[in-house]
Symmetry: C2
Subunit: 417 residues, 2 copies
């Protein structure tokens, strides 16, 4: 994308009504637009980051035999009454409205009930199991306060997966596979070192649920983590008993603020019983299907990545999620400079490498500041000096030193990454 074409602009003004670093930087860089508190639009570069994250998650979910679908935002009251989660006293984040005939409807803040109810059409026999389904859904939650930027929104994107299994044993096996897939996702988006499989409170059915917590100053949770074992315990279940149960020692655990980027949960047969999802087993017995749910907050993950890596110059994107891998800063408009910059842009783009090409008529310092604010992994300067030397001047986003490299070598390096 040529920056002369991109409609968004960067801004030096810090948004006055934003306390969250992630939203401040994303707004300044033109990645998101704030519609109201906790409600953000994703502009071209922001949308590209989201799509990059979604694609990584999609690949990992498909690899464990997840099947993608998309449910609806509009939800039936009757369904949620069956699990006693319609009442505002029970669930305090509902947005509700009415059809023209006065039927009450809700807007999806979660989709377990809806998907499980739908599955009654498809899962009837042991031959139909297991089934693993997931979606990327825009969730609507009527949060009382929304002050964490895109880390806790009233409207946000979540990947939610549901597993339907024959038995507790089959469920546990998939649950462990899903755990591994989640760790791969966080590794691939660049948060592997900072994300911990965390024991948190379970429900009626299990002692624990599992969270994936990324260490972050702005996180809403407190965890006690073991770096070596890559495990953590959420404060809510941090007792001597639990520490011992997990084979840990209190004094080897590190207390940290963290943000929950994923959550997996076993329901046993409870929700299936409430919603009447049964199957006939090999011996002809009618049994409730065993349910698990597996969430990743996609927009939240993007916010956590911002918080984790950004510095005082702006955003810093890990390569895998960056909206462009290279920022070409063209300095000057001499014919040979334009030609060299255009050529590099074409070659990289044709090689499938996304580029932000700063072809605007601006001072070098402004371009460098914008390159930093955008957080693009590689900045390439092309000027009459670099053209004369038949080299590119390259700087990685987190480095201060530049290196000179021949164009062909740089292109090959990127194609191999």
């Amino acid at each position: 994308m040529r920056l002369s074409q991109l409609f968004t602009k960067t801004s030096k003004t810090i948004p006055a009504d934003e306390t969250a670093k992630n939203a401040r930087l994303l707004i300044q860089a033109g990645y998101v637009y704030k519609e109201m508190a906790g409600v953000y639009a994703y502009l071209p570069l922001g949308l590209q980051v989201l799509e990059n994250i979604k694609q990584i998650v999609r690949e990992e979910m498909n690899a464990i035999e997840g099947q993608e679908l998309i449910m609806t935002s509009l939800q039936q009251k009757e369904l949620w009454e069956k699990t006693d989660r319609w009442d505002d006293e029970k669930v305090d984040v509902w947005f509700k409205s009415k059809l023209k005939n006065s039927t009450e409807v809700g807007f999806g803040w979660s989709h377990e009930e809806q998907i499980t109810n739908m599955m009654r059409n498809y899962l009837n026999s042991y031959r139909d199991l297991p089934a693993y389904v997931y979606q990327f859904q825009t969730k609507l939650r009527n949060e009382l306060r929304a002050k964490s930027g895109i880390m806790r929104g009233r409207e946000f994107v979540m990947k939610d997966m549901y597993s339907y299994s024959l038995s507790e044993e089959a469920h546990q096996k998939f649950y462990d596979i899903a755990t591994e897939a989640y760790l791969k996702v966080f590794e691939r988006v660049g948060l592997g070192n900072d994300t911990f499989l965390t024991f948190a409170s379970g429900g009626a059915f299990t002692q624990f649920s599992h969270e994936f917590q990324t260490v972050a100053d702005t996180g809403e949770d407190t965890i006690y983590l073991h770096r070596g074992k890559k495990l953590a315990i959420n404060e809510e279940v941090f007792t001597d008993e639990v520490i011992a149960q997990l084979g840990l020692q209190r004094d080897e655990l590190e207390k940290a603020k963290a943000a929950e980027v994923g959550n997996i949960f076993s329901f046993g047969g409870t929700k299936s019983e409430q919603l009447d999802l049964y199957f006939i087993d090999e011996d002809g017995n009618r049994k409730p299907v065993i349910l698990g749910s597996y969430g990743i907050g996609i927009t939240r993950l993007m916010g956590v990545i911002v918080e984790r890596f950004a510095d005082d110059k702006g955003l810093v994107w890990p390569m895998a999620v960056a909206p462009a891998k290279v920022y070409i800063a063209r300095i000057g408009d001499e014919e040979e400079v334009v030609k060299a910059a255009d050529e590099l842009y074409e070659q990289l783009t044709q090689g499938g490498i996304a580029v932000l090409y700063d072809d605007r008529d601006m001072r070098p310092g402004e371009k460098f500041a914008d390159a930093d604010l955008h957080g693009i992994p590689y900045r390439v300067v092309i000027s009459s000096k670099t053209v004369a030397a038949k080299q590119l001047e390259i700087k990685q986003r987190r480095e201060t030193e530049t290196v000179m490299m021949e164009p062909q070598a740089f292109i090959e390096k990127l194609l191999c990454l």
Copy 2:
């Protein structure tokens, strides 16, 4: 995808509460699930069709310099009051709710106001223009009745594009380019011959808007079309004066029922004035930005494709939007048959050709019926007979005759399509 893995099932039972052919067939084939009237979930194969349509639209919008973004469902009352479209008396399809602090919010049934208001942050000078932006958005509309299946939903996907131009002349030029891009989209999804650029009523600013109407018995509009000139006039503006103005003759026009699949509209500067979107021109004058809007109903388009091509055996997908190009019906489970079918499946999949592989333990007649109901362009039968002959038995969805072809020739043919 192996059908033994796919969680959806086909059904012979015609959904009792569906009057629309598109929804009946899509439900029977397991492509969609009806949550409530006008509200459908898209299951794996249905989602794949949607994504195929979206990708075609995306390519054509990018080709005319559209920049993709995603706005929000939650909308501010204040914004819609500025254009006098908040009141339920003025717009009767709003879903509304309230934040915890009692602030009223609406759920996006359209996004012109929101995007135009946002653009005040980015479009200030003639240097910032033009800008073309689009999104694929889930729209929520509180329709009184919803009886047309996925052709008119309470929750549906629309591609909406907005153009921001310097002047009427610049706007008109883009409007014509967008018209051509729209015709390409309908051509590519297989509706080229049946879709007509249709003159319909304009607004305060223009005499006409333009619709793209596809001939369909279940359409809600009546148009008068000229097959040779690929033009039509919507009944709402069908007068002697308009016929003459367009250089047509009444007796060369054919009356037909049609479904609106796209709509483009010029707003002039009106909406920009209401929402305060002005720019400074080269001479330092403050002028309203000229706005155009360009919609394509993505889910509706899918419904129209179903209605247009389906026959008494089920769905019929044009190649470009089909969720799989090939349906492999494996007959029998002899080792050589399984091997041949597995091999073809692997080869096609690795060549990037989506396949539905019917590896289930079912009678041939059931597999053939499912192949037809799913509407996959090519059905390939692999049995001990075809393996012995070193051939594949191939039938196109609309044909009744089968042809024999060597596997390699078939694969090459598909890769070249």
